[in-house]
C-alpha cells in the first residue's frame, strides 16, 4: 500500500531544498509532483521537450530563453534540485525574511539574484554585457514580425543610451541594476 511520488523524495532531501531555496514543505511536495508529471520519460530529469509540452509556455515569446535558464552550461537534462533552484528566484519575499541576518548567504530570491536572472536572459554570450545585438535579439523575440528593423533599432539605441553610463554602448550588470532602481 505504498505511495508513489512522495516516497521518492526523502525527508532529508526536502530539508536540504528547504534550506537552500526557502520554499515550505508543502510547496516542495507540490512542486515535486508537478516535476514528476512533466517528466514523461520517468527518469527523474526534465529535458527541453518536457518544458515545451506546456502549451502556455510554448506560446510565451521568451519561452525558449526561460527554458534555457533551467539548464546548466552545456547540459540537456535538469534534475529536481536544479529545477527548484531556478524556481526559487521567483519565490515572493516574505516579511519574516527581511530582517534576517546579513552575514548568511544571500537568499536565492533576493532582488539582486532576480535581476541577475533577468540579465542572463538578455546576455546570451555571457560576457557580462548586454550589447546592442543581444538587446535587438530579445526585442525581436518579443515583438515578432510586427515592428520594422529600423524602428526596433531606434528603440534599442534609445534604451542603451538611457542606461549606459560608461559610454561603451553596452549595458553592464551594474548599469542594469541602476535602471531598476525602484523595482
Amino acid at each position: 500500500m505504498g505511495s508513489r511520488a512522495s516516497t521518492l523524495l526523502r525527508d532529508e532531501e526536502i530539508e536540504e531544498i528547504k534550506k537552500e531555496t526557502g520554499f515550505s514543505h508543502s510547496q516542495i511536495t507540490r512542486l515535486y509532483s508537478r516535476f514528476t508529471s512533466l517528466d514523461k520519460g520517468e527518469n527523474g530529469t526534465l529535458s527541453r521537450e518536457d518544458f515545451q509540452r506546456i502549451p502556455e509556455l510554448a506560446i510565451n515569446p521568451l519561452g525558449d530563453r526561460i527554458i534555457n535558464a533551467f539548464f546548466p552550461e552545456g547540459e540537456d537534462q535538469v534534475n529536481f534540485r536544479g529545477f527548484m533552484r531556478t524556481l526559487a528566484h521567483f519565490r515572493p519575499i516574505e516579511d519574516n525574511e527581511k530582517s534576517k541576518d546579513q552575514n548568511g548567504p544571500e537568499p536565492l530570491n533576493s532582488r539582486s539574484n532576480k535581476l541577475h536572472f533577468a540579465f542572463r536572459l538578455y546576455d546570451l554570450d555571457k560576457d557580462d554585457k548586454i550589447s546592442r545585438d543581444e538587446l535587438l535579439q530579445v526585442l525581436r523575440m518579443m515583438v515578432g514580425v510586427n515592428i520594422s528593423d529600423e524602428q526596433l533599432g531606434s528603440i534599442a539605441d534609445r534604451t542603451i543610451q538611457e542606461a549606459d553610463q560608461d559610454g561603451d554602448s553596452a549595458i553592464s550588470f551594474a548599469e542594469f541594476v541602476k535602471a531598476f532602481q525602484y523595482l
Binding site: 505504498g2 502549451p55 506560446i59 515569446p61 518579443m142 510586427n146
Partner: protein, 455 residues
C-alpha cells in the same frame, strides 16, 4: 481413468448446481430487468454501502496521519498560484510603475518589460491549465484502490485488511460477473441486430431495432456497474437533431445510448469493434466512415447534413472535443458539427471519481487494459444532464456557436471551460498563438498611430 471417484462426482455435482444457481440469479436480477428497463435498486444500495466504508476509511487515515504527523492531503489541489487575470498591457504597466519614477505617457519599451514574460513563463511552469487535463484527476481522499494511492502510507492493520478484502471482492467476484454480463450484452447486440436487419423496412423493424439496442446497452451498463442519474429527461434529443456531449471515455456512448436511441458516427475499426459496427448498421442507419473518408471534411459534413435533413432519421451522437479529456474541464469543440445547421442538444456528463475513474488515458493504456481497469473498479457513477436545445443565431458563426454550447455544458457539469484544443494531448501548439502574444506586445510599445503590423 474413466471412472470418476465418488468424491469427484460430488464435487462436479456441487459445481454444476452452483453454476446453475448463479446463472439463474444473474438472469433474474440483472438481465431481465435490463430487458424491461426497470431496476431493483441493488446498485444504489451497493453505492451507499461503499460510501459509508469510504467515510470510515478516510476518518481512520486522518486519525492515523495526525498521530504520526504526516501530511495527508495534497496541498493546493487546484493550483499553487493565486492571481487575478490581468491583460498584458495592465500587467506591464504595473511592473513599469513600480520600477521607474518617470511618468508614463509615452509607452515605449523598458528593460523591465522582460519581467512580465519571465514571470508568466515561470508561473506556467509551476502550474498550467492544460497539461493536467490529460491525466487522471487526483482524489482528495483514498477510495481503497491501489491505483489511486498517491500519498497515503500504511496506517493501520484494519485498513490494509479492508483493502485486501476489496481486492478479493473486485477481482474474484465482481470481475467474472461483469465479464459474463459484457459478453452476454455484446453477443446479444450482434445477434439481435443481425436478425432484425433481415426484416423488411418498416414500423416493425424500427420498433424491434430500438428495443434490441436499448436492451443490450442496458446489459452493458450493468456489466460496468454504472450508476447513472439522468436529469431533465424532457430535453432528450429528438429526430433530426445533433446530440453533443463532453468526452471522457468510450463508455460515454454506452451511458447515453442506454437511455435514448441514437445514430452513431465514427470510423470503421477492425477487430471486434468492426464486427459490432457492421452488425448494428444492418438494423438502423448509423453513419460509419472508412478511414480514408475521415480526412475529407466536406464529405463528412455532406453525409451528416443528409442525415439530419431526413426527419425520420435518428439524432446523431457526436463528441466535438475529438479526444478524451479527464472530466475536470471541457476543451475546444471542433466546429464541424456546428456548421451543419441542425438543432443541437447539449448533454453534460460528469463522473464521480470516488468509485472509479472513467478517464481513458489512451497514451498510457490500450482499450483492453482500460476496460479491465473499468471492470475492476468499484463502480462507475455519473450524472447526465440533458440541456435545452440550442440553435445557431443569425449573428454568430460556427465557432461562436460552438463556444456557446461548450460554456453551457461546462456550467451545468461544474467543469472548467477552456479554449485550448484537446489535440494538444499529442500535438504541439500552433505558432499562431505565439504570434498573437507578440502582436499584443508590439501594439503596446509601438503605439497605435505608428502601428506597422502586418495583418
Amino acid at each position: 481413468m474413466f471412472l470418476l471417484l465418488p468424491f469427484d462426482s460430488l464435487v462436479a455435482n456441487l459445481l454444476g448446481i452452483s453454476l446453475t444457481v448463479l446463472f439463474t440469479l444473474l438472469l433474474v436480477f440483472i438481465i431481465v430487468p435490463a430487458i424491461f428497463g426497470v431496476s431493483f435498486g441493488i446498485r444504489r444500495l451497493y453505492m451507499k454501502t461503499l460510501l459509508k466504508i469510504f467515510q470510515w476509511a478516510t476518518l481512520r487515515i486522518e486519525r492515523g496521519a495526525k498521530e504520526k504527523n504526516h501530511p495527508v492531503y495534497k496541498p493546493y489541489a487546484n493550483g499553487i498560484i493565486a492571481k487575478e487575470p490581468m491583460s498584458l498591457e495592465e500587467e506591464i504597466k504595473e511592473i513599469r510603475r513600480s520600477g521607474s519614477s518617470k511618468t508614463l505617457d509615452a509607452p515605449e519599451f523598458e528593460l523591465s518589460d522582460i519581467f512580465y514574460f519571465c514571470r508568466k513563463g515561470i508561473e506556467t511552469i509551476m502550474d498550467d491549465e492544460v497539461t493536467k487535463r490529460f491525466s487522471a484527476e487526483e482524489l482528495e481522499s483514498w477510495n481503497l484502490l491501489s491505483r489511486t494511492n498517491y500519498n497515503f502510507q500504511y496506517i493501520s492493520l484494519r485498513l490494509t485488511v479492508l483493502w485486501g478484502l476489496g481486492v478479493l471482492i473486485r477481482y474474484c467476484f465482481l470481475l467474472p460477473l461483469r465479464i459474463a454480463l459484457a459478453f452476454t450484452g455484446v453477443s446479444l447486440l450482434v445477434i439481435g441486430t443481425s436478425v432484425v436487419g433481415l426484416l423488411p423496412n418498416g414500423w416493425c423493424k424500427e420498433f424491434l431495432s430500438k428495443h434490441v439496442h436499448l436492451m443490450c446497452y442496458r446489459i452493458c451498463v450493468r456489466a460496468l456497474t454504472a450508476i447513472i442519474t439522468y436529469h431533465d429527461q424532457e430535453n432528450r434529443p429528438r429526430n433530426g437533431g445533433i446530440c453533443v456531449a463532453n468526452h471522457t471515455s468510450p463508455i460515454d456512448v454506452i451511458i447515453l445510448a442506454s437511455d435514448g436511441y441514437y445514430a452513431m458516427v465514427g470510423q470503421i475499426h477492425g477487430g471486434l469493434m468492426g464486427v459490432i459496427q457492421r452488425a448494428v448498421v444492418k438494423a438502423c442507419p448509423h453513419v460509419w466512415f472508412e478511414r480514408s473518408e475521415v480526412k475529407d471534411r466536406h464529405l463528412v459534413a455532406k453525409r451528416l447534413t443528409e442525415h439530419v435533413q431526413d426527419k425520420s432519421k435518428l439524432p446523431i451522437l457526436i463528441f466535438p472535443e475529438g479526444t478524451c479529456i479527464n472530466n475536470t474541464s471541457v476543451m475546444m469543440f471542433k466546429k464541424g458539427s456546428f456548421e451543419i445547421g441542425a438543432t443541437v442538444y447539449p448533454v453534460a456528463i460528469k463522473y464521480d471519481p470516488q468509485f472509479g475513474d472513467a478517464f481513458w488515458n489512451s497514451s498510457k493504456y490500450g482499450m483492453v487494459t482500460y476496460l479491465l481497469r473499468m471492470m475492476t473498479s468499484w463502480a462507475i457513477v455519473c450524472s447526465v444532464w440533458y440541456l435545452p436545445p440550442m440553435t445557431r443565431q443569425p449573428d454568430e458563426d460556427a465557432v461562436q456557436f460552438a463556444n456557446r454550447v461548450k460554456s453551457a455544458i461546462a456550467r451545468q457539469g461544474g467543469l472548467v471551460d477552456l479554449l485550448w484544443d484537446g489535440g494538444l494531448k499529442r500535438e504541439k501548439v500552433k505558432d499562431a498563438f505565439k504570434e498573437e502574444q507578440q502582436k499584443l506586445y508590439s501594439k503596446m510599445i509601438a503605439g497605435s498611430h505608428e502601428d506597422r503590423s502586418r495583418s
